[in-house]
């Protein structure tokens, strides 16, 4: 290698070694693409969208249900109660026909407490009238639709006079006037026939 060429290479080498990477390559590489902990743009956008959706849902709930969750519970309870009571028949059940309701004087149901946030589940509109509770109705609705059942079968709590099977009645004779058919208000349970003993 000639001296001229060697000198040229030495000068070029010193200039070559004077070059520097401007900045910190470790930050450029480890802090961006290689770093797995740094969230990407699409991940930030996705989380932001979910957050906005949740905030919108909460705001919508406040707009629809008023001031707070207590009123929301009350409104929901009232609607449910109206739905249940609305399914009851408007007419009174058979068993309560002719039965006087118990006296309410002195035993009246207490006035439901005022609606407050502390008692959100107290039903405020329930009238404590026993006729509204339909105690005589059968528990199974399907029982009422069976045509083979008698009325008392359908309604086991019905407060009516029990039926007795008709007893064979001997033919009327002058020696036994009791065999004559009853007339007027005299009926079988008013005048029971004598029991024959052998």
């Amino acid at each position: 290698m000639s001296r001229l060429l060697r000198d040229e290479l030495e000068r070029a080498d010193s200039a070559y070694r004077g070059q520097r990477y401007a900045g910190d390559l470790a930050d450029d590489v480890l802090g961006s693409a290689v770093s797995p902990t740094r969230p990407s743009r699409w991940r930030i956008g996705l989380l932001g969208g979910v957050g906005l959706g949740m905030a919108a849902a909460i705001a919508l709930a406040f707009l629809l249900y008023g001031t707070g969750p207590a009123d929301h519970d009350l409104a929901k309870t009232d609607r449910l109660q109206d739905t249940v009571l609305g399914n009851q028949p408007s007419a009174q059940p058979d068993a309560t026909v002719g039965i006087e309701p118990p006296p309410t004087t002195g035993t009246a149901a207490p006035t439901p407490p005022a609606r407050t946030r502390a008692t959100p589940l107290v039903p405020p509109r329930v009238a404590m009238d026993i006729r509204r509770f339909a105690l005589s109705r059968p528990s199974l609705a399907s029982l009422t639709r069976r045509p083979d059942l008698t009325r008392s079968d359908r309604n086991p709590l019905r407060l009516t006079r029990p039926k007795r099977p008709p007893t064979p009645r001997p033919a009327a004779s002058p020696s036994n006037p009791s065999n004559a058919p009853a007339t007027g208000a005299s009926r079988w349970f008013d005048d029971p026939s004598p029991v024959e003993t052998s």
Binding site: L9, R20, Y21, A26
Partner: protein, 187 residues
């Protein structure tokens, strides 16, 4: 009086290499900071464009990190990483648009604040580097920079260039012959 062992370069520390290979971010950052100027000036001499050299340096660092766990220590880390940089620069040269000149953006990045005298020295040094690396074909430039500027041996240069040592010797011989002829013409 104890003898202080010579300070070891970060890239030659096997424990640092092991930690970096296991994914230790601190060790990886230390290795990258130790190698960033080596990669940058090599990429700059190959691409002759500041922005491309910077991009190629970052790509070299990414591939270096990706392959660090598989590095078995069969060669020096410097040689192995310069082989990565060689491949990256070849890819960048292939992707470079035809007619895109690197000469316009040729300038040296210096640590110190460059005054008028420094700028004149830079121009002279730049001209020297330019004379050496600019006029040579890509393969000859690679061989000259790796062998004479980076100080690799012929075998290491061959490993970095992914060729045989005989090819490196032949390539270097052709490059020096060409440079000598150009210098004699200038003189």
């Amino acid at each position: 009086m104890g003898v202080t062992p010579p300070e070891r370069a970060p890239e030659d520390d096997p424990r640092l290499l092991e930690r970096a290979g296991r994914g230790d971010r601190g060790a990886q950052a230390s290795l990258i900071r130790a190698m960033q100027d080596v990669w940058y000036r090599y990429c700059w001499s190959m691409l002759r464009d500041d922005e491309m050299a910077r991009d190629a340096t970052q790509e070299t660092a990414r591939r270096f990190l990706a392959g660090l766990a598989g590095f078995r220590g069969g060669s020096r880390l410097r040689t192995w990483s310069l082989g990565i940089a060689t491949n990256v620069c070849r890819e960048f040269r292939r992707k470079r648009r035809p007619g895109m000149a690197g000469d316009a953006s040729l300038r040296l990045v210096r640590d110190d604040e460059a005054g008028p005298a420094d700028r004149a020295a830079d121009r002279e040094a730049h001209a020297a580097v330019h004379r050496v690396v600019e006029t040579l074909p890509d393969r000859q430039r690679e061989a000259v920079v790796l062998r004479y500027f980076e100080g690799l041996s012929t075998a290491e240069t061959a490993e970095a260039m992914a060729c045989s040592p005989g090819t490196v010797k032949a390539t270097l011989s052709q490059a020096l012959r060409k440079l000598r002829g150009q210098l004699e013409t200038l003189a």
